[in-house]
Amino acid sequence: MAVRLVFLGKLADLAGASERELAAPIDWPALVEALQGELGEWLAGDKLKLAVNGAVLADKRALQARDGDEVALLPPVSGG
C-alpha cells in the first residue's frame, strides 16, 4: 500500500537516498507534508517537475498517486 518516490540529481543527495516509500494515496498536500527542509523548498519552487509512472505532470499540484505508482522528483536536467 505504497507510493514510491524517486529522487533525481541533487535531490537524491538531499533525500539521502534515491528512493523512498510513502503510504498511498498521495496528493500534493500530502507530498508537501512529507518532504521537509531543502527538499520541501525544491518541491515548492518553480524548477522542480513531477512525473507519475513516467508521465510528467503539466501541473504538479494536481498530483494524485495511488498504491503502486512511482512519483519522480525532477530538478532541471543538466543535459547529456
Binding site: V6, A51, G54, A72
Partner: protein, 148 residues
Amino acid sequence: MKDVRLLSEPFNPGQLVGPFTNAHPGLGGVCTFVGEVRGDGDVEALELMHYEPLTLAGMDDLAEQALARFDLMGILIAHRVGEMRPGEPIVLVSAAARHRRDAIRAVDFAMDHLKSDAWFWKRERRAGEWRWIDPRPEDHADLERWTS
C-alpha cells in the same frame, strides 16, 4: 532504422557505427558524432544519472523527430550513463542518409537536443568531491537554432 540505447558500460564507437552503416545498403553517407568526457582542469570522474522511463523515451522521441525532419535512412543514438572517466565516449549519434546534408544536419540537431533537454543529471568529481552540474545557458541558445 531507429536504434536508441542507454549504455551502462564503456563502449567502442566503431563497434556501433560499423553495423549501423552496414544495415543501410544504398546510403550516400553516414555522419557520426562521438562526444568524450573532457578532462577539464582537475575533473577525475563524471557521473550521469538517468530516469529510464523519461530518459529512454525522450531519446526515442528525439530519434523520431530527426527521422521526421530530415530525409534519413536511419539514426542511431547511444548515450552512456553511470560513472565515466575523462576520455571515455559519453555519446554517439550516427545518421545515415542518401544525401550528406541530411545526415550532417540530423547529427547537429540531435546533439543540440541531447546536450540541453535530455533527461540526464550530471555530477563531476574534483579532488574527491562530487558536485552537481547546473544547466548551461549556451545549451538553451543552441536549441533555438531548431525552432523555426
